[in-house]
């Protein structure tokens, strides 16, 4: 059901991107399941090649996506582009899953939440969708082969050293306050920073809310079990009492299922949206950051050109031209990308908010009816 929901969102975004870039996406991908193989989580990909109306089924593990992402980013010119964010690595070892479950359900719970691969599948599927419908990445050769060849491409080990990451953090902090030449980008960059903060906070708090709901649900089911733990067969009054308690137990059971459902569904709607955009907002910030870098380079090249002595003038001019065109491309691409981002954000927000609200209404309605049954059952107990 969850997959269907997402694919139904899909065409809406397609039609949008088709305006710019006809024929995208080249592939449609559904990720129906993931299984654990040894230490790795294997995702099943159902790929449909749109032009040939041909389908195939592939197996990919998370590291393959990591490699794909790396290649997409390095092989394409990503100036001004908001790169769709790679999903977080699924938890594959039992210990981390257990600690997550404990964190969510409380330490002394007897209920363990199962593997949450559905959520990971959804994230991966969404990622592929975003990449495939993206005008820059949608036609990438690497992506095509990734989705058409049975064997995953050979990956090189990715080195993301601590030092590079650290220096980039410092860099970001230093450059992010830089005044822009373009007022439009000034406000957009400010928005990106604030939005990122706000959505991360919202995502975090929403997850806490979900956890609280899980816990409430689990304590309701504990109560429900305990309510029916006492059996009495012969004693009339006790039988009556037990029938009353049974009704209460049913009510508690209903509440438990209700909150469990709300959490599960909330996770795939609101939780999913918030999580995606918390990551996406980082891509947004990255884009701005890269553009600021380009701007700095451009300004530096301009200065160098002014100071350049005749023998070096040629080289300086070339450097200046490159930097200028880089920056201009970044700015230009950035504008379309920002618009695209807004479009995606709006579409996703609209669908998540209405889906979320509809779910809440539906679940509450269902359980209202359930509770009504328990309530009626009580009326039938004559004292």
């Amino acid at each position: 059901m969850e997959e269907e929901d997402v694919t139904s969102q899909f065409p809406a975004q397609n039609s949008h991107s088709e305006n710019h870039d006809g024929g995208l996406p080249l592939f449609q991908v559904v990720v129906p399941e993931a299984v654990k193989r040894a230490e790795n989580v294997m995702f099943t990909l159902q790929v449909t090649i749109v032009a040939e109306e041909k389908g195939l089924v592939l197996l990919r593990q998370y590291e393959d996506f990591e490699w794909l992402h790396h290649n997409l980013v390095t092989n394409n010119d990503i100036r001004g582009i908001i790169v769709p964010p790679l999903p977080v690595k699924p938890l594959s070892d039992p210990k981390s899953a257990e600690s997550l479950s404990k964190k969510q359900m409380g330490d002394n719970t007897r209920i363990m939440r199962g593997d949450q691969f559905e959520h990971d599948c959804l994230s991966v599927q969404k990622y592929l969708e975003l990449v495939l419908s993206h005008p820059t990445f949608g036609r990438d050769k690497m992506l095509s082969s990734f989705l058409t060849e049975q064997e995953a491409p050979v990956r090189a080990r990715l080195n993301k050293g601590l030092i590079t990451r650290l220096s980039s953090v410092i860099d970001t902090a230093r450059k992010s306050n830089r005044k822009d030449v373009d007022e439009y980008y000034n406000t957009k960059r400010y928005f990106a920073t604030e939005y990122s903060k706000a959505i991360k906070e919202a995502s975090l708090n929403y997850n806490k809310l979900l956890v609280a709901q899980w816990r409430l649900s689990s304590s309701y089911s504990t109560v429900a079990t305990e309510l029916t733990s006492c059996t009495a067969d012969r004693d009339e009054e006790l039988v009556k009492l037990n029938r009353v308690l049974k009704a209460l137990s049913d009510g508690c059971e209903d509440e438990a299922t209700c909150y469990e459902l709300k959490s599960a569904k909330g996770e795939t709607t609101a939780g999913f949206f918030l999580d995606l955009f918390a990551r996406y907002s980082d891509s947004l910030k990255d884009m701005h950051f890269r553009r600021v870098n380009d701007l700095i380079e451009y300004e530096a090249a301009e200065k160098a050109l002014e100071k350049a002595k005749p023998p070096k003038r040629q080289a300086a001019e070339e450097a200046f031209e490159t930097a200028k065109s880089n920056f201009e491309r970044a700015s230009e691409n950035g504008k379309t990308e920002l618009n695209r981002f807004t479009q995606i954000r709006l579409a996703s927000s609209a669908s998540f908010l209405s889906e979320y609200a509809e779910l809440q209404v539906k679940i509450s309605q269902d359980f209202y009816t359930q509770l009504l049954h328990s309530r009626r059952a009580l009326d039938k107990i004559h004292l």
């Binding site: 928005f191 604030e194 939005y195 706000a198 906070e201 919202a202 708090n205 929403y206 806490k208 809310l209 956890v211 609280a212 709901q213 816990r215 409430l216 304590s219 309701y220 504990t222 109560v223 305990e226 309510l227 733990s229 006492c230 009495a232 012969r234 004693d235 009339e236 009054e237 006790l238 009492l241 009353v244 308690l245 009704a247 209460l248 009510g251 209903d254 509440e255 807004t342 954000r345 709006l346 579409a347 927000s349 609209a350 908010l353 209405s354 979320y356 609200a357 509809e358 809440q360 209404v361 509450s364 309605q365 359980f367 209202y368 509770l371 309530r375 009580l378 107990i381 004559h382 004292l383």
Partner: protein, 514 residues
């Protein structure tokens, strides 16, 4: 329902006494010893068997003469009731009258049926039983803090409305302290537990909670505690008043209507010497409970004891679980508030107008939900957790009564043993031809024979009373649970309904974005 077979003359006599008490005095009842109290109770519960009959007779005063073949005592009962009704229940009585169309043949048929198939009428019995009791409505309307610092204390304003003629006024308002409640409970327990009445337990003293109240200048942080205690005390009074015997206990009436302060009861303070003594006493009793065993020949008691133990355990577990539940609900409340806040923040940041508005609406919706969760958390606590707690305490009272029966049994058996010894002494004396001492020994024997007889009587009486009390208690329990469960489920339903409403209001906002 063996008490249905009780010899009528005995009852008639008792009813007569009761009749007089009710009609002519309110104070006369006071000196009644525990034993006579229990007999009154016996009589009134005998009513239970005759209820249906009585009901019909009440309705058909005109035909009463015609039902002469019915037991004599039922006539007395019937006479007694309309009298009371005319005294105080003048308004309620006619309503009841209309309920059933009286016909004598039916009443006879029913009489026969009550005797044969009494259990099937239990439910009705209870209803009738309730009607036998005077209308009484007790509320604790207010809590006042008196004094300052560590000598501060809380005073509870109790409003009682009743049709019971034993009260001087139909409505009275008194101020009572917590220790007064403990005092009245102690008095009631002393008088009535011995005859097998399940006396509802008073709420426990909470030194920590009270200290908080004393320390706090304003009762914001402690208002939760105060409200809990107020509710607990109110439930205690209502429960006590629902008992036909306890409700008309002179001490209880005094507690509810005497103007001014009651004499301070010193023995109830947790830290006093008496408190410590009580603790020792309790420890002793619980030791005794472990060691004392009756080789039970009454299957009913054996079964009930097991049931009570099992239920006690279940209720205790439930109480803890529900408190945990309430805590989790509170957590959810906090988290919802947090999420509402960050949704509002996101709405502020968002540059797109429609989306921004939708997010603010989401924040508002979540805020409303937070309020809902908070109310629900209160309901979890006040309805369910407190219900379980009350019944854990009540199970304690039931156990007390069971224990009392075992004590009675023991003193009966002790008396029997002494009697055997005395007889042996007499036999020895006869063998030794010590004729001068035989007279004394014979007197001893007669005395102990009487004691044995009384012991047996006591034991049988308490056993019988307990059975009756348990029946009443269990019925009350089911009614109480059913009431609370219905209320609780309705609150849950109400909340789901509100949730539906909130989200439905929100939905158009979400749809307006794209």
């Amino acid at each position: 329902m063996a008490d249905g077979m009780e010899p009528p003359p005995f009852d008639t006599e008792e009813d007569g006494i009761k009749d007089e008490d009710d009609l002519f005095s309110d104070a006369k009842e006071k000196p009644s010893s525990p034993s006579s109290d229990s007999q009154v109770n016996g009589a009134s519960s005998n009513n239970m068997d005759e209820d249906v009959k009585n009901d019909l007779e009440d309705d058909s005063d005109l035909f009463k003469g015609g039902s002469s073949e019915i037991k004599l005592n039922s006539d007395d009962e019937a006479e007694e009731k309309p009298n009371n009704g005319s005294n105080a229940e003048s308004e309620e009585a006619p309503e009841e009258t209309k309920k059933a169309t009286p016909e004598i043949p039916v009443s006879e048929a029913l009489t026969a049926k009550t005797k044969v198939a009494a259990p099937s009428l239990k439910a009705e019995d209870l209803d009738e039983d309730d009607k036998d009791i005077y209308e009484i409505d007790i509320k604790i309307t207010d809590t006042l803090k008196m004094g300052d610092g560590m000598s501060a204390y809380l005073v509870y304003k109790i409003t009682t409305k009743t049709s019971n003629p034993a009260f001087r006024r139909p409505e009275s308002i008194v101020l009572r302290r917590f220790s007064d409640f403990l005092g009245i409970h102690a008095k009631l327990a002393e008088k009535h537990v011995a005859v097998g009445i399940i006396v509802p337990p008073a709420p426990e003293k909470s030194v920590i909670g009270m200290t908080k109240v004393k320390m706090s200048k304003e009762d914001t942080s402690s208002s939760d505690f105060v409200e809990r205690r107020r509710a607990a005390l109110e439930r205690y009074l209502v429960r006590t008043a629902a008992h036909p015997v306890l409700a008309s206990d002179p001490d209880f009436i005094e507690f509810l209507e005497k103007d001014g302060d009651l004499p301070r009861s010193t023995s109830t303070s947790a830290l006093s010497g008496a408190g410590v003594m009580r603790l020792f006493h309790r420890v002793g009793e619980s030791l005794e409970k472990i060691t004392l065993r009756v080789d039970e020949n009454d299957e009913w008691f054996e079964e009930k004891s097991q049931q009570v133990e099992a239920l006690d355990l279940q209720l205790r577990k439930l109480h803890t679980s529900i408190e945990v539940l309430s805590v989790h609900r509170k957590e959810l409340c906090v988290n919802t508030a947090q999420f509402a806040k960050s949704a509002a923040m996101l709405g502020n940041v968002e540059e797109h107008t429609a989306l921004s508005r939708a997010l603010s609406q989401l924040a508002e919706t979540e805020e409303k939900i937070e309020v809902l969760h908070r109310e629900q958390s209160d309901a979890d606590f006040f309805l369910m957790a407190e219900l379980m707690k009350d019944y854990v305490a009540l199970m304690g009272s039931v156990k007390d009564v069971f224990h009392e029966r075992i004590k009675t049994y023991k003193s009966w058996k002790d008396a029997e043993m002494t009697l055997t010894k005395k007889r042996e002494v007499k036999a020895k004396l006869e063998l030794q031809h010590k004729t001068d001492k035989i007279g004394q020994a014979q007197a001893d024997i007669t005395e102990w024979e009487q004691r044995v007889e009384k012991g047996q009587e006591d034991f049988e009486k308490i056993s019988k009373n307990i059975k009756k009390e348990m029946l009443r208690f269990e019925k009350m329990r089911v009614v109480d649970f059913k009431d609370k469960v219905i209320k609780y489920l309705e609150i849950l339903m109400d909340n789901q309904e509100k949730l539906i409403k909130y989200w439905e209001t929100f939905l158009p906002e979400a749809k307006a974005i794209a």
